[in-house]
C-alpha cells in the first residue's frame, strides 16, 4: 500500500485528503468521511487503520477533511448540512475515481458523514453501497424546538421539566442505573420528531445499485432507540428487493459516539473492512 496526501480542488479552496492505494490494480474505492470535529484519519486513527485493512484486500480509499477544517483550506464559521457538503464529498470521490481509474465506488461515514455517505452512494456512478454509522435519521418538529426554547428560558427552567415528568408518568430505573422516561413522555417525544424528509430519496437511490448498512453501538440502543425505530419503519416501506439490500447492525463494545472504547473501534474497523470486501466481491 502507498498513501498519498493531496489537496483536492473544491472551487477556489482545497480539501485535504489522503488516498490509500493497494498494491496492484484496486478493485474499487471507498470514500471515508467523519463527523464534525474529527480529522480525516478519524478519532484514534480509525479511518486510517480501516484504509490499511481495505488496502490489504485490494480496495483503495480516500479520507478527507471538510472545507475550512483541519488541513483543508477556507473559512467556515459553522458546520451545517448543506448542498456544498454533498458537493465536497462528490469532489473527493470524483478525484479518487479519476486518479485510480476505478469504476466501482462505496462510501462510509458517521453522524454527518453517514448522511453524506448515503448521498454519495446515491449520486456516485458505479456505487456499490454505503455504511452509515449513527445516521442522523430524525428531524425535530416545530414544537420540539418550541419546548426546547421554553425549557432554556429562565421562566421555563423549572416548570417545563416538571410538567413533562407529570404528563409523561413516573418512568423507571434501567439496569444501567439510568432513568427511563414514562410511556406517555416517550409518545410525546416520538410525536416531536419525524424521519428526516431528505433521507428517504437518497436511501432509495442508493439501494438501486448497491447495499446500505446502518451501524449502531450496543450502548446506542437507548439514546438512539427512536432513530432506529424510524429507520425500521423506513425499511419496511421499501419494496422487498430493496429492503433485502439493507441491513441494520449493532456492534458490541459500547457507543459509536466519539468511538469511545478500544473494542468499538476494533469492531468498526473489522465490520467496515469485511462489508466492503464483500461488496466489491459482488458481481457488478
Amino acid at each position: 500500500m502507498i498513501e498519498v496526501p493531496v489537496f483536492v480542488p473544491h472551487g477556489r479552496e482545497a480539501l485535504a485528503s489522503v488516498l490509500a492505494i493497494p498494491d496492484g490494480k484496486p478493485r474499487g474505492c471507498v470514500v471515508l468521511t467523519t463527523g464534525v470535529g474529527a480529522p480525516r484519519s478519524h478519532r484514534f486513527s480509525v479511518w486510517s487503520k480501516t484504509a490499511e485493512r481495505l488496502a490489504n484486500v485490494g480496495i483503495a480509499s480516500i479520507r478527507w477533511d471538510y472545507l475550512g477544517l483541519h488541513d483543508s483550506t477556507g473559512e467556515v464559521p459553522v458546520v451545517q448540512w448543506s448542498d456544498d457538503l454533498v458537493r465536497q464529498t462528490l469532489a473527493v470521490a470524483t478525484f479518487a475515481k479519476r486518479v485510480l481509474g476505478v469504476d466501482r465506488m462505496a462510501a462510509a461515514g458517521n453522524c454527518l458523514g453517514a448522511r453524506l455517505a448515503l448521498r454519495a452512494a446515491a449520486d456516485m456512478d458505479g456505487s456499490v453501497g454505503a455504511i452509515c454509522m449513527l445516521p442522523p435519521v430524525l428531524e425535530r418538529r416545530w414544537f420540539h424546538r418550541l419546548l426546547r426554547q421554553l425549557g432554556a428560558s429562565r421562566s421555563g427552567r423549572g416548570w417545563i421539566p416538571r410538567m413533562l415528568r407529570r404528563v409523561g408518568g413516573a418512568g423507571s430505573e434501567g439496569n444501567d442505573g439510568r432513568h427511563r422516561p414514562g410511556a406517555a413522555l416517550l409518545r410525546l417525544k416520538d410525536l416531536a420528531v419525524r424521519t428526516d424528509p431528505t433521507m428517504e430519496g437518497p436511501f432509495r437511490r442508493a439501494l438501486r445499485t448497491g447495499r446500505v448498512l446502518f451501524l449502531f453501538g450496543d450502548a446506542d440502543l437507548i439514546e438512539r432507540g427512536a432513530a432506529m425505530e424510524r429507520l425500521g419503519r423506513l425499511i419496511r416501506r421499501l419494496p422487498p428487493d430493496a429492503a433485502s439490500r439493507c441491513e441494520v447492525r449493532t456492534l458490541t463494545g459500547g457507543t459509536l459516539v466519539r468511538l469511545g472504547s478500544v473494542q468499538i473501534q476494533r469492531e468498526t474497523i473489522d465490520t467496515v473492512a469485511e462489508w466492503m470486501d464483500a461488496r466489491f466481491s459482488d458481481a457488478p
Partner: protein, 304 residues
C-alpha cells in the same frame, strides 16, 4: 501502482493561496522511525530565515487542537516563517498508526522534524506547542539548543498533566467513552481511557516530566502564553516562565482573555441550541487570537 495517475497526484500535493499569503505542500517524510504525513507551510513572498516545528499535543488533544495549530502555521507563514507540522507515530496518518503513542515518540518526532526543516534551508528554528505539546516543544528546544520557543499553557510537570488528562477523558467518557480510572499497573499494561490506549510505560514517561530538572540550558527567546477566563496567566505558564528566565532565556508572556480559555484541548464543537443541525466551533475566536499573537511575536524574532 499500475493504472494510477501519478502525475495528477503529484500536481495536487501543493496548494497556493497568494491572497492569504501562504503555500502548503504535503510531505511523506520518515519521522520518528517511520513514514508519516506532514505539511510544510511557506510564505507566498520571500521567506525569512525563521522556521517553526509544531509539536502537537497528546491523546485526544491532538485532534482537539489541530484547528488552532493549522491557523497558527498559516499565520506564521503569512508573517514570513516556514512551518512544519506532522503526525507523531501512533497518531492520524502516521505509518505506525496501530501502535499506542508514547512520549518518547513525541520527542523523537519533533527532533526529526527540526532536522527536516533545517534541510529546507531555514537558519533559525523554533518549536511551538500547546499544553503537553508546549511541554514537548520546551524539552526539544532545550535538547537541540534551539534559539526560539513558543509554548501555550505548557505543563512544567507531567503528573499535573496526567491529572488534567484524566479529567478531560472522564468528561469525554460522560458523552459515551469508557471510564477514566487509571490503575497502576493495569492488568494488560495499558488502559482504555475513553478510547485512547494509554500504556503504563507512557504514563510513567509523562509522570516523570519535570521541566525544572529536564530543561537546563535553554537561553533562547521564548513566548509563554496562557488563555484564561479572567485574563490572569495562571500558575502553569508562570512556573515555566520563571524557570526559563532563571536559565537566562528571554521570555515574553502573553495572556488571552477568553471565556473558553480553561477548555483549551477539549472538544470544542457545540450544537446550537436553536438548531440541532448547526455545529459551532466555540473556540474559533480563541484559536485565531492565539495564532495571531504567536505570529506577531514571531515576526519580531526573524532577524536573529
Amino acid at each position: 501502482v499500475s493504472g494510477v495517475d501519478h502525475v495528477l497526484l503529484d500536481r495536487h500535493r501543493r496548494f497556493s493561496d497568494p491572497a492569504a499569503g501562504w503555500t502548503e505542500e504535503f510531505l511523506v517524510p520518515a519521522i520518528g522511525g517511520a513514514r508519516t504525513v506532514a505539511v510544510l507551510t511557506r510564505p507566498s513572498g520571500l521567506p525569512r530565515s525563521v522556521g517553526w516545528v509544531i509539536c502537537h499535543s497528546f491523546g485526544l488533544e491532538q485532534l482537539n487542537l489541530d484547528r488552532c495549530e493549522v491557523l497558527t502555521a498559516r499565520a506564521l507563514a503569512r508573517s514570513g516563517s516556514t512551518v512544519l507540522r506532522f503526525h507523531v507515530q501512533g497518531y492520524g496518518d502516521s505509518e505506525r498508526r496501530w501502535d499506542p503513542p508514547t512520549l518518547a515518540g513525541h520527542l523523537a518526532g519533533a527532533e526529526d522534524a527540526v532536522a527536516l526543516l533545517a534541510s529546507e534551508g531555514v537558519d533559525r528554528i523554533g518549536t511551538f506547542g500547546i499544553r503537553l505539546g508546549g511541554t514537548v516543544a520546551t524539552l526539544v528546544a532545550d535538547r537541540l539548543d534551539l534559539p526560539l520557543l513558543a509554548a501555550w499553557e505548557p505543563f512544567s510537570d507531567g503528573s499535573t498533566y496526567l491529572r488534567d488528562f484524566r479529567r478531560l477523558h472522564t468528561l469525554s467518557a460522560l458523552t459515551g467513552g469508557s471510564a477514566g480510572d487509571l490503575p497502576d499497573p493495569s492488568p494488560l499494561g495499558w488502559t482504555d481511557v475513553a478510547g485512547f490506549v494509554l500504556t503504563d510505560q507512557t504514563r510513567r514517561e509523562i509522570e516523570a516530566i519535570d521541566l525544572a530538572r529536564d530543561v537546563g540550558s535553554f537561553r533562547g527567546e521564548a513566548l509563554i502564553g496562557a488563555a484564561s477566563r479572567g485574563g490572569s496567566g495562571g500558575p502553569r505558564a508562570a512556573a515555566v516562565t520563571r524557570h526559563l528566565q532563571a536559565l537566562g532565556a528571554s521570555c515574553a508572556t502573553e495572556v488571552i482573555r477568553d471565556p473558553t480559555g480553561p477548555l483549551l484541548g477539549q472538544f470544542h464543537f457545540k450544537t446550537r441550541a436553536d438548531d440541532p443541525h448547526v455545529e459551532v466551533d466555540s473556540q474559533l475566536e480563541l484559536f485565531k487570537r492565539l495564532a495571531e499573537s504567536t505570529a506577531g511575536w514571531a515576526a519580531g524574532r526573524s532577524k536573529g
